[in-house]
Symmetry: C2
Subunit: 370 residues, 2 copies
């Protein structure tokens, strides 16, 4: 098995590294914009490139249902379909099966679910999920796992962990494309010893990297970090570590400090469409009446297209008028904010100043707007 | 009065010319993308520039109600507000007052209407409409006029014409900014002699250009062209001519052939959002199932960003998935189509081949897709 991760520099547990994929190399820590249905909402691939996005995430569940695998095969994979010639990570669809489907049914072999689009019944197995992702041509594929709800009993979590391990082995066996990477997903609910145990089990298997799954599902923030701290020390130093579905800017900094390399979250893109913007002085709710005549840029310290060219007054007008350009400009800004956050984190790690970087940022986000 | 129009070349009645404004010169025939609320829907100003848009239209009625003139003054005009440093034409708001308001009330002095946003009552006079447009900083302003419904009696149209002429004079008197142009609007309903008479009345007044208003309001196409043919010969050769709110690609070609210089229409942008795309072989309804696995570009003869980078299968997927990128990519394509149409018309006029150009295009749009 070829190693895909190269460590460049550490600063405490924080790591600056790089990951090699079939579509080129990206540096870590990295934030992956989410492109659920084969598009990062409201931005074209050339804008994503200009923002410096190095890898994006897409959703197996959604693409499997629409446009469906027959179309994806015809267009020869997801990269060509969406015109994105850089790395793509796809999730397994497990999270959507569990979160969008009240009628799901888990068996030892896989999971039954009903499509949220038309109610049609589908059965996904670990092998089928790998096969779908190979058809998509994902540079980094994820194993089908069970994402357990919070709270769950220790007994339920243990049984679920065993199933996830079984599915992880089946995923590895199903893999046929050498050039695509496959990650295992550590579960274990909110039980530190189970997290530790599951990480030890999975790291025996020849995965290219490991994800920490089942977090940010409603648990208290402190408990979430306890689980990360229980898991990371069990993960090998020579493979990338991915914390799924996390999170707020401060969460990403906390994760980096604990040795996590990869992050994804819908927050920058979804909040952009809802008019919530991340700035160097904390969040701005753009519909607020105080911005109606505000001729300043959204964030005077930001050099994104939105901040270089438009006022808060205009951004508010677009939002109030429900204009599509509101979603576009807000998404450009929020993605720039997140991508800058991880880019600058690498530099801070190189300079041995990651904690200072983190604390200075978190402090500045708390400042009240004048 | 300084002349803003320079004739470059004629081919029959068709004209290639250029218009000088406070924000630079644009060539005619020209298509003006519509930016109703201070944004051309679904595209940013840098994309508009890259598409070669030379002038855009915005709506006085909408901007007057939201964000309102207080904000526009604060941000020092519409160009700065929307970050568009090229010419802007604004309509007078008259059309919206008449089309969006069942409760409007016309007096000799102006028109009462209720806001479609909050029901608040407003009174617009010709002078106030000029004042609003001067605050916006429109390079080309339009007079308040009454756009009469179709059908209307000869008597009603005559009285309305007199009012529009009275308002035209009041508009000229109200104008204070020398560097901004003001156009008169020829009305006259569907009566050729009234069109002719009204054009003669208005062209006595020192307007910088003339619009043909009150067309495309439900009348048969043949009658519309009769009205254009009755009007254009009465318009001076040394001033630009603008056919308001028209139209389909073939209408623009027909208008150019009859000596019209300027056009605007929501069709390319609105139809884009509804999945109707203009191509060199006629319209494509992208949701059609036959495009589901179609790996060809939308229009293989088109060199826009959308056609260079994406397949019909992807465009259909985005449309079916209600993704914002669908509106973005479709709008880019349709605007490119319209802007290319008028750009190429200038070349055809220069070559003395406008009718050949027109007929060849109209023929190709009728071809059935294989």
């Amino acid at each position: 098995m070829k190693k895909i991760y190269r460590l460049i520099r550490t600063d405490g547990a924080a790591r600056h590294g790089e990951v090699e994929t079939a579509h080129g190399t990206f540096e870590t820590p990295v934030f992956m914009p989410v492109g659920t249905q084969g598009t990062v909402k409201a931005v074209s691939p050339d804008i994503l490139e200009s923002l410096g996005a190095e890898i994006i995430l897409s959703n197996t569940y959604h693409l499997y249902l629409r446009p469906g695998m027959e179309i994806i095969e015809k267009v020869r994979g997801l990269h060509r379909f969406m015109n994105w010639n850089h790395p793509i990570l796809t999730d397994s669809g497990g999270f959507q099966v569990f979160s969008l489907n009240a009628l799901r049914e888990i068996t030892e072999e896989g999971v039954w679910f009903a499509s949220h689009l038309d109610g049609s019944r589908h059965f996904l197995t670990p092998a089928k999920v790998v096969q779908i992702q190979e058809t998509l041509g994902s540079d980094i594929m994820m194993c089908l796992d069970e994402c357990v709800a919070f709270p769950s009993t220790r007994g339920y979590v243990q049984a679920s962990m065993d199933l996830t391990t079984k599915w992880a082995k089946a995923s590895l066996e199903a893999k046929t494309r050498e050039e695509l990477a496959l990650f295992g997903i550590v579960q274990g609910g909110m039980y530190g010893d189970l997290r530790c145990q599951h990480a030890r089990e999975l790291t025996q298997l020849p995965f290219d990297g490991f994800a920490i799954g089942g977090l940010s599902v409603g648990e208290p923030k402190g408990l979430m970090w306890e689980m990360v701290e229980a898991t990371v020390p069990e993960l090998p130093e020579d493979k990338p570590r991915y914390m799924m579905g996390v999170g707020k800017p401060e969460d990403i900094l906390e994760g980096i400090e604990r040795g996590v390399d990869m992050f994804d979250c819908v927050m920058p893109t979804r909040n952009a469409r809802n008019g919530m913007l991340f700035t160097s002085r904390g969040p701005v709710i753009i519909k607020n009446a105080r911005y109606a005549g505000d001729t300043e840029p959204l964030d005077s310290e930001c050099d994104c297209y939105t901040c270089r060219n438009f006022t808060r007054a205009y951004l508010r007008h677009l939002f109030m008028s429900k204009e599509i350009l509101s979603a576009i400009l807000n998404t450009i800004h929020n993605l720039h904010f997140y991508l800058n956050l991880t880019r600058n984190a690498r530099r801070a790690i190189d300079e041995g100043n990651f904690v200072g970087y983190k604390e200075q940022l978190i402090q500045s986000w708390k400042e009240t707007e004048s």
